[in-house]
Symmetry: C2
Subunit: 289 residues, 2 copies
């Protein structure tokens, strides 16, 4: 089965379970709405690609690890879009969750997706429980405090901010978790995969900054110019569009050369190159995160 099909199938299954009795219908519908249709699914594709490169000896756990990362990502988008943060009215080309439903449902949807991300890892680990402690620790670290998404988002409430720490926490950490968890799910040492995740995460953030600056709202399905409007740290503000685009290419080259020697190395290089091409400004219209 194709990587993308494995991810969608696993997401459909876990979201179906969330609809079981006694689920409240509106919240169940909001969970589904927030996860389907997805964006480019870059993070779970990266995780599953690494699992496959490492032998993929427990496909159920590889799939669970990939979608756990996507569920945390979706949760962070829902909460980021709330009126008290970005007050965004569009996400992935349709109304954001609090616009399509309401604020209580949006808060609960994010919470439920976070719980679901961990729960699916627990439910998929019976055959190889020894892999679960590091999987859970990696996911918690990348999502929470002080090393994850919450920490990054929290810096927006501070009077002074460190650009690289902010980006690493808010965006980079989940990419690092993707490559680490992909390796752990397949029984491999995660440490040698950190650099790949870190570089792709950095590239992704720079690409997002360039996209934001170019204000192509219609093409990417979400409001743009938010960083500039809110005076938030931004690679374009620091380097200009040309400088940021150049930096992006350098980071992606480094990402590909960081891929460790493994059975599926060549295939993984191809996958990363394909993902990388989506991050070049000319191809922005093809994806929404």
């Amino acid at each position: 089965m194709k990587i993308s099909d494995r991810i969608e199938k696993a997401l459909v299954e876990v979201l179906q379970r969330a609809k079981l009795d006694p689920a409240p219908p509106k919240l169940a519908a909001a969970l589904n709405y927030s996860v389907f249709p997805g964006g480019a699914r870059v993070r779970p594709q990266l995780a599953l690609s690494v699992s496959i490169a490492c032998g993929d000896d427990n496909p159920k756990l590889s799939n669970a690890s990939a979608i756990a990362i996507e569920l945390i990502h979706c949760a962070s988008l829902i909460h980021d879009d709330l009126p008290c943060f970005d007050d965004a009215y569009l996400r992935r080309g349709k109304p954001s969750v609090h616009k399509a439903f309401d604020e209580p449902i949006a808060v609960l949807s994010g919470d439920a997706l976070i719980m679901m991300a961990f729960e699916i890892l627990g439910m998929s680990s019976a055959d190889t429980p020894s892999r679960l402690p590091t999987l859970i620790a990696a996911l918690g670290r990348s999502g929470g405090m002080p090393f994850g998404i919450c920490s990054g988002q929290g810096w927006e409430s501070e009077p002074e901010i460190n650009l690289s720490a902010y980006h690493q926490l808010k965006t980079g950490s989940l990419f690092v978790a993707a490559t680490q968890m992909g390796a752990i799910a397949a029984g491999e040492d995660p440490d040698q995969w950190i650099e790949l995740g870190a570089r792709i995460g950095e590239a992704f953030q720079v690409a997002d900054d360039v996209r934001d600056a170019l204000e192509v709202a219609e093409q990417i399905g979400k409001p743009t110019g938010q960083d500039i409007a809110k005076n938030r740290p931004n690679a374009v503000a620091e380097l200009g569009i040309g400088g940021a685009t150049e930096k992006l290419q350098d980071i992606l080259s480094g990402a590909i050369s960081s891929i460790p020697s493994c059975p599926g190395e060549a295939d993984l290089c191809e996958i990363v190159k394909n993902q990388a091409s989506l991050l070049t400004p000319v191809n922005f219209k093809k994806q929404s995160i």
Copy 2:
């Protein structure tokens, strides 16, 4: 060490870690503010009491299980207090998190505490990884959708609501997780501990309804009468204060007689009796949840 000291020490440690560089100071402070000083810590005390009754052969994991439950509970309180839900200005006798800090920090605090709850389980499971899949599954189930707190809270957004399902999901599920996880952390079968958790959870909800109806805001440190004001399901509305108080005593007697035969059975009965006495209306002033 006393049960309560073990819980506070473990909570202090995990909250200290959340302050490490590069944590944003406001969010780190809010996490601390939301967890200390605690309420009665009923749920973690119940979990740890069950672990001890079951032999407590891995105290680190018993402690982690107990505080994981408390962290999920604290997260649910922060989010429940948000303007879009109860819009509560007091919690545990001081301003709620969104009042003391702001709404973005309150949303992030809840998210970070959920992540932390799972992460601490992962970080405490290296010695007995085979216990982790069921611990994670039990915690995720009790917090999320369709069987946990989010599901219960989600029912408040529905036009019609089933009183017993609502209470079981919003309050009961975490008490069930407390007894289950206490047993799992000590390597015991969780199934025989479900009834104890379910009965205490039910008692707790009925006690909360009675307290809410009595409107003793100053004594318990949070605004009361919310259920009645918002026409939400409530045992007092169904049975009257006398009927609800009688039901409470019946449930607590059942809870004590449900305790399975185990080495620490007698001690656990005492602990449950002590917790139960806090749930009688005359003693409400002694605790805040």
